[in-house]
Each structure stands twice: as structure tokens, then as C-alpha cells.
């Protein structure tokens, strides 16, 4: 079953390439089938707990193991949901010529992401990282403008650099401990220099890919110049993929190396990212750049949660996963709305937005709801995540972190309301506008509502996330 999560999108991608006439319907059918596969995997997981799938019946030292637990399941579900929604959106968004390239790349990207979330060995992580890196760099360049090509090129070089550093780490770990399987490695790993070097290289590569301050320089140009559905998946999932690997590696491999200095390191970088990203988002004049800088800030929260979790505060793991989920949904809604406004006006300058609230009420609602979750106002997914994060920081007596979280929330409110304010006003210059198809308005609204609903279903979601005890906590439920 799990194998088809990887094979089906690849097969569908090939079909969309071979039969370009029906690429949209083949693509959407493939995505919906993927979504239903995830649901069947979920039922299997809920029935029997976490489980392995041995590819071709070969066990770990020789073959490749796929592994499903609560954490990988929610990431798979998120991928399928956002890919399907953004895929429906993209069906209307792209011109015919662009859609010829979009669908094969999109489905390959989904296959890569699914493979990544199912992997359980460090070399497979490298391969899947490269798969999604290549597919997403090509997707970024789809709009074929000067900025998009430059953004894509910079993104490709950065992701190659990150992968090579990671691969060097894999080489060292394999040399030192004789395996690439995470379970086998976790039994053998010791605090020796080769493990330290590997940890440094792999973490550096992954931090570069997840755009943690000060390695975020490549993110805003790439995310802002990509087509809207691609920006959505870049911010929602591609960034999260490298953070997911980081989580898996630290939980099962590098915990013996853990020391207080790493907590300080991640907490400091995360706090800087929150403040720096939010302030830069606040001063942007273009909507897509504002949303891209907001992603830099949100990555900061994830690493603050990570540092607290490393310090042994188990509620921080829940905070981390909840922030990932709600940010992914809210941010893809924001990027899709930005795509609507760009399509509507032909530009995305914030001051020149012309009575959007009256003319595109659905998009404005989606933006406001997603904004609520990004700020972390009560009863949204973002609120639950931040609540856990605050709880963790108070438990750890880290008042500095508490302050940063609250400040980040205020700044986020600043940049969300800055945009919302301009949606009500009339622009100084008259502008030509284009009609927006209804489905392009409904998809972001759906994502935004999902981000809010996450806040209502916190208890069952957390039970699902902690199925199979992915974080190695004693007495799993929070």
C-alpha cells in the first residue's frame, strides 16, 4: 500500500507527460487517488500502530524499509491535501503551455515528498531531498520571467549545496557505523568525532534547506517569484520536508550528542528568525514578498520549539508538529490568495489593492482566516501550536523565548492587518481587473478554514500525531 503512495504519482506524472491532452484530469485523478491511499494507510496505522514495510521483502541492512507512524502519517496527509487543493487551483491558474510542464513536475514532486516522509534510512533521505529539490526548482522557474529564473537558479544552487553537505555527513556516518538504516544506526551510534562531524555537516545542509536565519537569503526571491500554487507548496511542504528529516535524525540518532549548547544555538537562531522575518515582512511593499518573509519568521518558531523539545520538554514536540501543520495550511491559503490578487490586478503592490474586500470577498475572507492562524489568535490551529510553545517555554523557565513568541505574534498581527487594511480602501490609480474563477477562490478558503478547524480538533489530532510514539517519549500522550 505504502509503495503505491510513491509509485502512483510517478506513474500519473508519466501519463500526464505522454497524454498532454488530458493532463489536468489525469493529474487531479492521481492526486485524489493518492489522498484516498493516505486514508487507507491511516486506517491501517490506527488499527495496528506504527509498522514497517520491507520493499521487495528485503530487510533493513540490504533492502530499504518504509516506516509509518503518526508523524509520517500527518505529513503524508498534509502533502496529499495541499497537493490536491493547489492542483485544482493550478488547473485554472496556468496557461495551456505552462500546464504541459506543470503536471509531470508536480506529480514527481509529490512522489518525492511521499517517499521522503516514508523513508527510514539516511541515504534515502538524500535521494528524496534531491528529487524534491530538482522538481521544485523547475517548478519555480515555470513563470519564465527574469526574477523567477534567477530565484530558481539561486534556489537550485542552494539546495545542491545543502544536499552535498548532507551526503558528506552520510558518508561519514556510514564509515563510522556501517549502516544507513536509522534503526540500526541508532543502536550503534556513540559520541565520537566522526558522529560529531557528520551531525555538523548534515545539520548545516538541512538548516540551509529549511531557510533558518541567517541562511534564509535564498527563500524570499524564490518563493515570491514562483507561480502561486508552487509558492504554496514550497512554503507549506518543501521547507517542512528538511525540518522533518532534522527531527527524525535528532530523535533517533543524535540525541546521545545532545548538549545544552545546541538548545541555546537553535533557540537563538529561531528567535532571531522570528524577529527578523517579521520585521522584514512588515516593511515589504509587495504582497508575495511579505508572505515569503512571514515564512522565515514561522520557521523560527519551529526551531524554537525544536530547541525546547531537545531540552526534554515533551509538550514542545506537540507544539512543533502543530505549528508545522497549521502554518502549512495557512501559508498555502495566503499564497493562493496572493496569486488571486496578482491575477486580478496584474500586480501585487499592497498599497494599490483596490477595494478587494468588496470585489473578492471570498479571497479576503480566506486571507483573514489564514492570517488569524498565522498570528495565533484563539481557536485556530496556530493558536494551539503557540499555546503549547508558550507552555513549554514557561516550563523551561525561558522567559526570553516567551517574550519572543509574544512579540512575534504582535508583529504578525501588524503585517496581516497592514494587508487587510488596504483591501478595504480605494486605490489612487484606476486599474484594469480580470475575473477570477470561483474554484480559485474556494481552494484558499478551504485551506484557511482547515487551518482554523485544526484548533477545534486538537485532541484527536494530537492522539493521531503521537500514534506509534514518534518522539520517543515515555507515556506518549501530552
Amino acid at each position: 500500500m505504502e509503495v503505491f503512495l510513491i509509485l502512483l504519482p510517478i506513474f500519473g506524472g508519466l501519463l500526464t507527460f505522454l497524454i498532454p491532452k488530458f493532463n489536468k484530469s489525469i493529474g487531479i485523478i492521481t492526486l485524489i487517488l493518492t489522498l484516498s491511499l493516505v486514508i487507507s494507510v491511516a486506517s491501517q496505522l490506527l488499527a495496528g500502530g506504527s509498522y514497517y514495510h520491507l520493499l521487495g521483502g528485503w530487510g533493513a541492512p540490504l533492502g530499504i524499509n518504509l516506516y509509518v507512524d503518526g508523524l509520517s502519517l500527518v505529513m503524508l496527509g498534509l502533502t496529499a491535501l495541499i497537493a490536491t487543493g493547489a492542483g485544482i487551483y493550478a488547473g485554472k491558474y496556468f496557461t495551456h503551455k505552462q500546464s504541459l510542464w506543470f503536471w509531470p513536475l508536480w506529480l514527481f514532486l509529490i512522489a518525492g515528498l511521499n517517499a521522503l516522509f516514508l523513508s527510514q534510512d539516511i541515504f534515502n533521505f538524500y535521494v528524496t531531498l534531491e528529487l524534491i529539490g530538482l522538481a521544485s526548482a523547475a517548478l519555480t522557474a515555470l513563470s519564465d520571467t527574469k526574477e523567477a529564473l534567477r530565484g530558481a537558479m539561486r534556489y537550485l544552487l542552494v539546495t545542491l549545496l545543502g544536499s552535498l553537505a548532507y551526503l558528506l555527513g552520510v558518508a561519514l556516518l556510514y564509515h563510522g557505523f556501517g549502516s544507513v538504516d536509522i534503526v540500526i544506526l541508532s543502536k550503534r551510534i556513540e559520541s565520537v568525532p566522526v558522529a560529531w562531524a557528520a551531525m555538523g555537516l548534515m545539520s548545516a545542509g538541512l538548516l540551509l534547506k529549511s531557510a533558518l536565519f541567517p541562511l534564509h537569503f535564498w527563500l524570499p526571491p524564490a518563493h515570491a517569484s514562483a507561480p502561486a500554487p508552487v509558492s504554496a507548496i514550497l512554503s507549506a511542504l518543501i521547507i517542512k520536508a528538511s525540518i522533518y528529516i532534522q527531527l527524525r535524525l535528532w530523535i533517533s540518532l543524535f540525541l546521545p550528542l545532545e548538549s545544552f549548547y545546541f538548545e541555546i544555538f537553535f533557540a537563538l537562531l529561531g528567535s532571531f528568525a522570528v524577529v527578523w522575518g517579521s520585521v522584514l515582512a512588515l516593511v515589504q511593499t509587495r504582497l508575495k514578498l511579505l508572505i515569503a518573509y512571514s515564512t522565515v519568521a514561522q520557521v523560527g518558531y519551529l526551531f524554537i520549539a525544536f530547541s525546547l523539545a531537545l531540552g526534554g520538554i515533551s509538550v514542545a514536540w506537540s507544539a512543533l508538529v502543530y505549528l508545522m501543520l497549521s502554518h502549512a495550511l495557512a501559508k498555502s491559503a495566503l499564497f493562493l490568495v496572493a496569486g488571486n490578487l496578482l491575477h486580478f490586478h496584474g500586480h501585487d503592490r499592497i498599497v494599490d489593492l483596490d477595494r478587494i474586500a468588496q470585489r473578492l470577498p471570498l479571497s479576503t475572507t480566506a486571507f483573514a482566516l489564514a492570517g488569524v492562524s498565522i498570528i495565533g489568535l484563539p481557536l485556530s490551529g496556530g493558536f494551539i501550536g503557540k499555546w503549547f510553545l508558550l507552555e513549554a517555554s514557561l516550563k523551561n523557565n525561558s522567559w526570553g523565548i516567551t517574550l519572543v513568541i509574544l512579540l512575534g505574534g504582535l508583529l504578525a498581527a501588524g503585517y496581516i492587518f497592514k494587508v487587510l487594511g488596504f483591501t478595504f480602501t480605494k486605490a489612487a490609480v484606476a486599474q484594469e481587473t480580470k475575473q477570477i474563477p470561483l474554484s480559485m477562490e474556494l481552494v484558499p478558503l478551504f485551506f484557511a478554514i482547515m487551518a482554523i478547524l485544526l484548533g477545534f480538533f486538537a485532541t484527536p489530532m494530537l492522539a493521531l500525531i503521537h500514534t506509534g510514539n514518534p518522539f520517543g517519549i515515555i507515556g506518549a500522550t501530552p
Binding site: F123, V127, E130, G133, L134, A137, A138, A141, D144, K146, E147, L149, R150, A152, M153, R154, L156, L157, L160, L161, S163, L164, L167, L168, V170, A171, L172, Y174, H175, V180, P221
Partner: protein
């Protein structure tokens, strides 16, 4: 000194040279070559560390990894070359200059 230690050291050296050039060189083709040199360095480390078990039996796993890595490197280079050519056609020079200047 054991000759086997030379290879991984050379590999690390190549990695560092490539990293330096990737950051310092403005021209995209040079950046791309730098990435490829870094890749070769990593592959050299992989294969030479696999060799240093002095048994007669060679470990085949690093070889499989390198082949995968080479495939990835080729596809990435091809994609980057297309980007470079398109950038050069659109802007007149194959560089990632600041977006402020025209």
C-alpha cells in the same frame, strides 16, 4: 603513512575548494562547475572510506550510493545549465546580479 587516508583527505579538499568557488565566483558556469567539484569530492570520500576496511572483501554499498549520486548530479547539472542559458538570454549575462540593478 597509509595511502588510504590520502583519498578522503583529497576528497575533503575538493569539497572545500568547490565550496569556496561556489560562494566567490559570480559567473554561473563557474558556480556550476564548483558544485560538480564538490560532488566529486564527496564521492571520493564515500568510495575511499568504503575501501579502508582492509579485508579482501570490498564493500559494494558505497559504490551503489555513488552511482545514485552521479545520476542526481548529472540531472541537476542539466537543469542548472538550462536555467543558466535562459538567464543569459534574458539578461545578457550569466550571473545572479542584484535584482535592484537592471
Amino acid at each position: 603513512m597509509n595511502t588510504l587516508i590520502v583519498y578522503p583527505l583529497v576528497g575533503i579538499g575538493l569539497f572545500c575548494i568547490g565550496l569556496y568557488a561556489l560562494i566567490m565566483q559570480p559567473h554561473l558556469l563557474r558556480k556550476l562547475l564548483a558544485v560538480n567539484i564538490m560532488g566529486s569530492g564527496v564521492f571520493l570520500v564515500l568510495v575511499s572510506l568504503g575501501m579502508s576496511n582492509t579485508n579482501a572483501q570490498q564493500d559494494p554499498v558505497p559504490h551503489a550510493m555513488i552511482i545514485t549520486g552521479i545520476v542526481v548530479a548529472i540531472s541537476a547539472t542539466a537543469l542548472a545549465l538550462v536555467f543558466m542559458i535562459k538567464i543569459a538570454l534574458k539578461t545578457g549575462k550569466a550571473e545572479l546580479s542584484n535584482p535592484e540593478e537592471k
